[in-house]
Amino acid sequence: MGRRRGFLLKHRISTLFRRVFWRRFLPTVHRRLDPTQSTGVKPFSGLISWTNRLRTKAKAILYKNIESGRGYIRVGQDPLLEKPEPIPKGQMAVYVGQKDGDFQRILVPVVYFNHPLFGDLLKESEKEYGFNHPGGITIPCRISEFERVQTRIQAVQCTRKLLSWKRTSRSPMMY
């Protein structure tokens, strides 16, 4: 009984931690994905990736016991909390890589999908895998190429932002 309580407490702390620091985590996720940051400010991005690694490791330690004690700890738990990392709002996972290599799971803002440049990547995906590919959307291209497209979309969005604060999202089509 005492053991079980210990796990629950750990779990609660992690949930609380996640809720409290959720907003603060978000930008780091973006920075990690943002190629301008990683290429432009090298030492800074190094620090970020180090903190990210640290966070992942810490999480792994925290969740290790839960995973091993799966049988009883999950009873009565909210199924949403079972996933170690839920998809953040406004983002989705895509798998980027080339046929023989490894595919990297990358979180991208959902609004990128409506951008014509991203549309070109999606056309490649359709050619290679069709529409009914099971699981996440898989984009057959090099990571570097994918990052370049992301940078260009971001650049456009930043310019738009400077031009007008309250433009609707129709504008990516007209940029």
């Binding site: 983002q91 803002p109 069709g130 529409f131 999202s169 129709r170």
Partner: protein, 383 residues
């Protein structure tokens, strides 16, 4: 630094969504909410119905209709409910054509025969096919690509206590029947599907084309007829029906390499006649876009557990939730994806739920419920 770059577009999208409510049409022809059209509740001769359509393609390829009242042009002729779900491919032209012409053909043959029968429905399918193929021939010099457009075709007719189901393609109708033993409603699939992913369909094709080793090919982990199309029966797809359309000026990518003497696809529907049982509660007609994400029983359980009003819309949303989960995103974010790109997440989905009210089936002559409604009728992009 990074935050302001992406945030405005999210907010912007929010305002656009909110604004889309302005497009709402009157409830008579259903209502539009972004890419979702629905007619939440209506009445047909044999009970209530609910319809919903979600668009994924840049041009909506799914078409559908519900007609209630006289099923022939004669006053004394048969009366009942007609449901059609037409899942187009390669473009919207054929499904629109069928939506315009199939019911008129059915009425014509029902008048000639003074009744509804499996044969009358079959004749209506084949006549609509012939009419479309003549249109392709007529347009051949100016619009050869019309030869590459086709549609699946699912029809249900409720008349005199009988349900006729005719299907060519891979749309599906599922019956919800009250089951006293399990104290619930069980799903019974009534339509026969013609998708090459079914082994029986592949076997049928191989036996019809014994000389062609490439009649079914596995591509993208999906079985396709000639490596091109998943369904083995359809209306349209003229280039796979007649050799005369399998040539220039139709683009090479739409052509089959070897000339053929026998049609590769057929427009003949599989027909089932079902006597309506007092325990039969409702029918769910839907294009394959729904069944990709929901099982027959899941759909039946949803219809059984929630109010009739808006039930088709609820089914569509349930399927979209599953689609979003498969693509590792939130349902609320899926709504931000525009038509066209949406096709990477789900197909066009059409759902028609037809409730069978036993008391009104008996007095089928009630003329009060004359209805004629087209799915997606209020869409700004539908025509």
């Amino acid at each position: 630094m990074v935050k302001p770059c992406w945030r405005p577009s999210v907010e912007g999208d929010g305002t656009r969504r909110g604004g889309s409510g302005n497009h709402r049409g009157g409830d008579q022809n259903g209502r539009v909410d972004g890419l979702l059209w629905s007619k939440d509740l209506g009445h047909h001769v044999n009970g209530d119905f609910s319809m919903a359509v979600i668009q994924a393609n840049s041009l909506l390829e799914d078409q559908s209709q519900l007609e209630s009242g006289p099923l022939s042009s004669l006053d004394s002729g048969p009366c009942g409910t007609f449901v059609g779900v037409y899942d187009g491919h390669g473009g919207p032209e054929t499904s629109r054509f069928v939506n315009e012409n199939l019911f008129a053909n059915l009425k014509k043959f029902a008048s000639e025969n003074q009744e509804i029968s499996a044969n009358v429905i079959k004749k209506a399918f084949l006549a609509t096919e012939e009419e479309f193929l003549s249109l392709v021939r007529q347009q051949w010099s100016i619009m050869p690509q019309l030869a590459s457009v086709g549609t699946c075709c699912l029809v249900g007719v409720i008349c005199n206590g009988l349900l006729y189901v005719a299907n060519a393609g891979d749309s599906r109708v599922v019956l919800g029947r009250a089951d006293k033993v399990v104290r619930g409603v069980t799903a019974i699939q009534l339509s026969t599907e013609h998708n090459a992913n079914n082994e029986s369909v592949r076997n049928e094709l191989r036996s019809l084309h014994p000389d062609d080793s490439q009649i079914v090919v596995l591509k993208h982990k999906v079985w396709r007829v000639k490596g091109i199309i998943q369904v083995s029966r359809s209306i349209g797809d003229a280039y796979l029906k007649r050799s005369e359309f399998n040539r220039e000026p139709l683009l090479a990518k739409f052509r089959v390499s070897k000339p053929f003497s026998k049609p590769i696809l057929s427009a003949e529907p599989s027909v089932l006649v079902h006597k309506i049982n007092p325990n039969d509660q409702f029918l769910i007609f839907a294009s394959d876009g729904l069944w990709e994400h929901l099982s027959n029983q899941e759909a039946v359980d949803i219809v059984n557990s929630y109010p009739r009003n808006g039930i088709a819309r609820r089914l569509v949303k349930a399927a979209l939730r599953v689609a979003a989960k498969k693509r590792e995103m939130r349902y609320s974010d899926l709504k931000k994806i525009e038509r066209g790109v949406r096709r990477h997440f789900h197909d066009d989905i059409t759902v028609v739920v037809v409730f069978i009210d036993q008391s009104s089936t008996k007095r089928a002559s009630s003329r009060a419920s004359n209805v004629s409604i087209r799915g997606g009728g209020g869409f700004p992009y539908s025509s």
